[in-house]
């Protein structure tokens, strides 16, 4: 019994006559093609695995030779004399040499030895890296940049500048190049940081700021006002982490406490809380400003303010801390209580708050902090 059905708009006998046999052919061809391709890939993979095993064996041998006590590398690291044998190596050995040098660089604490490692890397890989920077493979370019950064190959800086101008340069590559600039104190970096359209995360900006050499750092602080806001916040955050103590930078931080831009205010509060120093004039000005506007400040700003008051002590701040211990946000109450505990007779003051503060939450947080302090004493 055959039924007439519509198949893709055509009238056919049964499921096909022509239609399904055509489908069988096409599907068969696809499946067969896929299967044959997979088998071919499988064979290629087996062959490639064998090759890789052999290469790895050679690399291991080269690695062991380089790490041996009487190897030319050991002699070089001890005496500083490069033998041609070290530089005249094949690709397999080059990979091993690179790995040995990276490992030595990571483990070595001796400045002279690190300098020698970098010099050797420059001699051995300079040309190779220059070529690899032009590779069409993104991962190869990124790896090369990471190695250049590790070995601090300053001779490649002009090539990196050229690379950054290329349209091929991705956001990640650009960031690593800027990091290399920062590490090597390349002045060009300041110009790059001043650009408004730099696509970088806050964390990436901060990484760069933390790597800056003293000379470039000075220049960046000089140009602070011209930096984009994101970079400005990173500079202030870097001041916190670098724990700057110079008058010029402290003055900048104190000035930022009264900026219109909230984020900069928050970062400067946080930085000063970390540094723990502030001029008396600024303390008074800050008290006045916060006395009037405490309630309208953002949660994060209040939090940082509470932290700052614990690090920079003055009698006038205690009243503010008592007020902040009744803040609607838990973290702020906690921070204020911690800050109060850092004052002379802080524990006594907390006990007093726990007893007599009119706000229930302030009393609770004081009790909680007293208990935590007890725990911290037990830990110590």
């Amino acid at each position: 019994m055959r039924n007439r059905v519509q198949w893709f708009g055509k009238s056919m006998s049964g499921w096909t006559e022509t239609g399904s046999s055509y489908l069988v052919q096409v599907t068969g061809l696809i499946c067969g093609g896929v299967l044959v391709t997979l088998l071919a890939i499988y064979l290629v993979l087996l062959w490639r695995n064998r090759l890789k095993q052999r290469t790895l064996k050679l690399q291991k041998k080269a690695f062991r030779d380089l790490m041996a006590d009487d190897s030319s590398l050991r002699h070089y690291l001890a005496g500083g004399e490069i033998t041609p044998k070290l530089l005249d190596v094949r690709k397999v050995q080059q990979k091993a040499l690179q790995e040995v040098l990276l490992q030595q660089l990571e483990e070595s604490t001796d400045d002279l030895q690190r300098e020698r490692i970098r010099f050797l890397a420059g001699q051995a890989f300079g040309t190779l890296y220059r070529t690899q920077l032009g590779s069409m493979k993104w991962s190869e370019r990124i790896n090369t940049l990471l190695y250049i950064e590790q070995f601090q190959m300053t001779e490649l800086l002009p090539r990196l500048e050229e690379m950054m101008r290329s349209s091929l340069c991705s956001i990640q590559e650009r960031f690593i190049i800027l990091r290399i600039y920062a590490r090597s104190g390349y002045v060009r970096l300041v110009k790059e940081l001043l650009k408004r359209n730099t696509a970088m995360s806050d964390s990436q900006y901060l990484q760069i700021m933390l790597l800056l050499t003293d000379e470039i750092w000075e220049k960046v602080v000089d140009h602070y006002a011209e930096l984009p806001v994101q970079a400005k916040c990173s500079v202030v955050d870097a001041m916190r982490i670098r724990n700057v103590q110079t008058t010029r930078e402290l003055a900048l931080l104190e000035r930022l406490l009264f900026e219109d831009h909230v984020e900069q205010r928050i970062f400067s509060l946080r930085a000063l809380a970390q540094i723990g120093r502030m001029s008396d004039g600024t303390k008074d000005k800050l008290l006045l400003a916060w006395h009037e506007e405490r309630c309208i400040r953002s949660r994060l700003e209040r939090l940082m303010y509470a932290r700052l008051l614990g690090r920079v002590h003055t009698e006038g701040f205690i009243e503010h801390l008592n007020g902040l211990m009744g803040d609607p946000a838990y973290e702020i109450r906690q921070e204020a209580a911690n800050s109060l505990a850092q004052y002379d007779q802080g524990i006594e003051k907390l006990r007093c708050v726990a007893r007599v503060h009119p706000d229930k939450y302030a009393r609770q947080i004081a009790e909680e902090t007293l208990e935590r302090k007890q725990y911290e004493r037990k830990m110590a």
Binding site: G14, W15, S21, F63, Y147
Partner: protein, 490 residues
Amino acid sequence: MNERWLELLQSLILLCYKGIWIYLVVVIIACIWLFLAAVRTMVRKKDLDLLHYDEVLNEALAPPVSVLLPVHNRENTIIADVNHLLDIHYGCYEVIVINDGSTDDTMERLMEVYKLSTVKSKIHYSSIGQAVGEIRGAYRSLRYDNLVVVDKQHGGHSDALNAGIRVSQYPYFASIGPTTMLDKYAFVKIMKPIMAALPDEEIIACGGRLELANSQKVSCSRFHIQSEKPVADLPKSPLLMMQRIEYIRAFLISGLGLVRYNINTLLFTSEAFGLFKKSYVMEVGGYNPDPRMAHLELIMRLHKHMKQIKGRGRIVYIDDPVCSTKVPESCAGLHQQRIRWHRQLTNTMWEQREMAGNPKYGWMGMVTIPYFIMVELIGPVLEIGTLLLLFIGLLLPFVENSLLVVLGMLLLLYGSLLSAAVILFEVWLARRRYTAREVTRLFLYALSESFWFRPMNNIFRIHGLIKALWSLREHGDSGRSAYSGLRADK
């Protein structure tokens, strides 16, 4: 029965064949497309040196994370698990162990080994807008200042996680599944996209590749030459091998494939490990404590929330292995697991049904959820249906054998051939070393998938689907409203 009815019946049966044919073609195209998208991502990053993670090792830069470990009756393994977490390589993190009403000596073991000291007043409680099981006590360790233990009434995994979120103090938290072993560098890897997020984007959740813990250790070493590439160490059991293949396939197609185009379409489902931005999870009310819901439900609510607030938050997935988890080693265990997964998937899709096909939710509503429904939810029914149609077709004189051959080949292409392709790609790309024997084993097992594992797995999942539909029919929305009530309490 007259001839007219017979004709109608025949037409109906033939329509089923057509429908199945169209379904298979569509899902094959979708899966191949997603696979190719994942291939592009992976190929780009192939051979990337692990040096690129170094920036995350800087303590001053890496955001602090709270690690939540819910435990229930784990007295034998708890100390090893907590020690493993305390040994993680990351700048600043706290470990919060939530004892979810254990009836064995789990709590006593914790007290004894870590010298727990009671926190009499309450420790930091963030409100997540829903009630959690009663917290009996909170403790801090006198040996490790980053270890907190919360002892609570039994309320299930999600409820325990909610309690952990409330107690946590850092802006990000990571949830750990009951059988998860984290890679020592898991946080270094998973925090990388968060640290690299540009000013116009924000990462609100991040998942990573999951490996099988039954046979191998996840490891990562930068210096491969001297330390030897980690070996693949494949399991002996066929069931474990097939699950390994299944995980790799799911990781590439449903994980990486969906994040390729930066269109925020990821629905990563693993309860084994996930990292979240706490503030957003709190805004959506935390985990749904209903044990019938999958973790996926939280992800769906986060997506929904982002659309509602017009946020720029994204959920991402990373291609490096971050943890390993134990999988069932017996058919019975697998059966139970798949029933549970499928029930959770069904209930979750039902709970968030308004998102399906809703243009208001963009790519998520129009692409990902329909894809999940078609491939993950009702896929098993359609695949088993295809097999049945194949066998029935042999008995029906009006169905051409050639059509049956076409359907059979499509099933093979969708199951075995796609898995084999995925496996070969994995071997080509892997950071770990595969021997020729292992490659051959993986390849052959992948080719055998359509003939035993896939049908078996699909039958288990259909069982889960039936149970879920049955319970939905029985309870209707009553179960949901009970939990909604609990959530609305606060």
